[in-house]
Amino acid sequence: MAIDVVAARSRGFAVDGVALVAVLATLACAAPAIAVISFALSPDREGVAFGGNLLRDGALGTLTQMLLGGGGATVLGAGAAWLVSLCKFPGRGLFEWALVLPLAAPSYVLAYSYASFSWAGGVSPIEVRGIWGAAFVYAVGLYPYVYLAARAAFTSQSACALEAARTLGTSPGSLFWRVALPLARPGIAAGASLAMMEIAADYGAAQHFGLTTLSTAIFRAWYAHQSLHAALQISAVLLIAALVFLMLERRARGRAAFGGGSTRWRPLPRYGLSAPMGMLAAAFCALLVFFGAALPLAWLARLALLHANIGDIAPALVNSIVLSAMGALITLALAAAIAVTARRSRRLGQASLFAAAMGYAAPGAVLAMGALAIFAAAREAGWIGGLSTGLALTALFWAYAARFASAGVQPIDAGLSRLSKGLDASARTLGAGPWRRLIEVDLPIAAPSIAAAALILFVEILKELPTTLILRPFDFDTLAVKAYSYASDERLLEAAAPALLIFVAGLAPILILSHGIASARAGAR
């Protein structure tokens, strides 16, 4: 009967060690957000006394920017991805990777640099300001999120569906609207939702452009009205809205399937554009790179040269890289656990995915408050002391994970979803238990997507400001902190060098990432 005992224990999914880790990872990632929500809901504090307007105007502002900036980023990103994936035109190879560059620039840096570049006394004939200016900055800064996702979606499309459409009389031009775009919709939607969540979470640019968004409303409630509680209530609204948004996105896919019409691999046919159209396409891509990266980069470089203080920020550069690398690794481990489990168990996985995604829409400072609240509770319970260096770092990495897990889960999930279910079953019948399958099958196979996730996380954390600002240890400045310190002191010249370095430090991983994606076409190993 010994056998039966063993068997009964191992029935279903419940006691798989990998799953247990994933559940813990999910809880860890969701905890700060949950803390924020429960803190916001706690009845022993005053409600949002003045919050009505703040909430309404903030929601309106955020929605406006999601529509204008997010919509712009979506159109630009999807358009560029289409051109680069499926058309031939001069410079295509160059643009394929160059289009990713703006990913290295934080929105707040773009905003500061456009402001100093174009506002009163600046050199630009057109002022980039207000709602439209912000939308412009979001669009040119965030389109790479959509571009990456859409390019992956376009390149993994079955060439056969496109060919079938052509034999049915569809010209290359209308192919885009009738087949390629509809098929890439989930990918584009995923990219667009990332861009929109970035917009929802952005404080720096919104504040500088004088927008009223949920994010600025949070800080208005907190800083001006001195009500952290109201700030958390608005944050809770933001978090819950993000969750609803994600669920709607899933729901909108409906019954239609998008993947897999064909498993056969055949090189994607690229359509040669006529000379004038080719020039237009090249100009379009060039403008994106110009406004999203080249122009702000050049402007920052000019400012930085006016005030060269590179030596002064070298330690911050080192700190940034060390912190980003460690943060990326930790977040990556949690994200991988969640993604792997999402694949092995549908229900548990879906819940984890959503829980992990929530944090992406919240401003970092809010999640940091969530993490602080948990620490405060633990301290009051006598489990820990103050935020010593070690604890502060723990809290910091934890907050990173809470904020960015989703950015890591998404690519890993996509990578894993390309694998046949049969592989897991094969490994099991060959006697491999859950851990061995994880380590010897799932992880190596998803390695390219895991590497991509690592690079994205590295860049995200490199750019991250508010969480770092509040949770870092003493005497520990990063580039973002430096840039912020100078910028908040309105010393744009001095801020330029660290901002530029964030950009530059982010470029290397971005280029590797871009190259990796260009060569990783589903099925072509």
């Binding site: 056998i3 068997a7 029935r11 079953a425 099958v441």
Partner: protein, 336 residues
Amino acid sequence: MSTVTLTRVRRAYNGAWSLDDVSLTAPEGKVLALLGPSGSGKSTILRLIAGLEPLDAGEIRIGDQLASSVGVTLPPEQRRLGMVFQDYSLFPHLTAAANVGFGLDKLARAERDALALRWLDRVGLKHRADAYPHELSGGEQQRIALARSLAPQPRAVLLDEPFSGLDPVQRAELRDATLATLAEAKTTALFVTHDAEDALQVADRLAILKSGRLLQEATPREAYDRPTSIDAAAALGPINVFSGRVESGAITTPFGPVAAALPNGTAAQAAVRAEALALSPGAAARVIEVRPHGAHDLVRIEAQGAIWRALVPARSTLGESVDVTIQPAGAFAFSA
């Protein structure tokens, strides 16, 4: 090498029985073929035996060990079975040799490599040891998958349509090679196919399935010669069916009588294999079409409004009409 026994096994998906009361024995060291159309539950049987899914009723034993019963599922990794999947499911990140060695992780590194190589040799792919799956043809991949499943000396090996998706020449070659390897390894094998020819070529015993039910379990010869139902008869080749009544121990079809060991007056069905119709010059039936069909011609004949298909030796010269003889060995009657 163990006997695999299914006893009254049931499995439902979304409330519908995908397997209904199936009892089956795969005898030690023999090849049992599971034959049936798409959706008949063949893969489900393999997945249940492998422990990849729990069952809803009945039990499965591997040798003496109770592997699955209601609420109890020994995990696959503890069953010591080999499995070859329809898409081979080779690990794309491992070489051929590493794939074959995957199940040998209890052995020391050197021993494991040596054994993997020995198995690669056995399936004739020693020279491809360092190739990755995507560098191998479909047939080569299948052989790697077979070697991988056999290397850990499983108690039985489960093969899910291992030959589908190959062209007929490759298919025949691979079938022979697989059979030889299985025979050499003396492994109990369960082998899923929807191709009658495959099943007849490879199997020691045949289990014919339809809609989750076991129609017949027998030797190939027995199944061909003494089908137990219309469906079982149809599973092994084209048949002609006629519904009528038994009169004087026979059913009278438009093309001739079929003997029926049933009470007179019973509503019954006659099933006649296409190759059991012999045609000779005459006037009983009209020839509608003659098409070459490899060794045979496929002839469509019509009588009294019924159209039957006959397989006759190729190049038989037939006129516009023929007489028809039904050969009793290929004609069966079942009560309707």
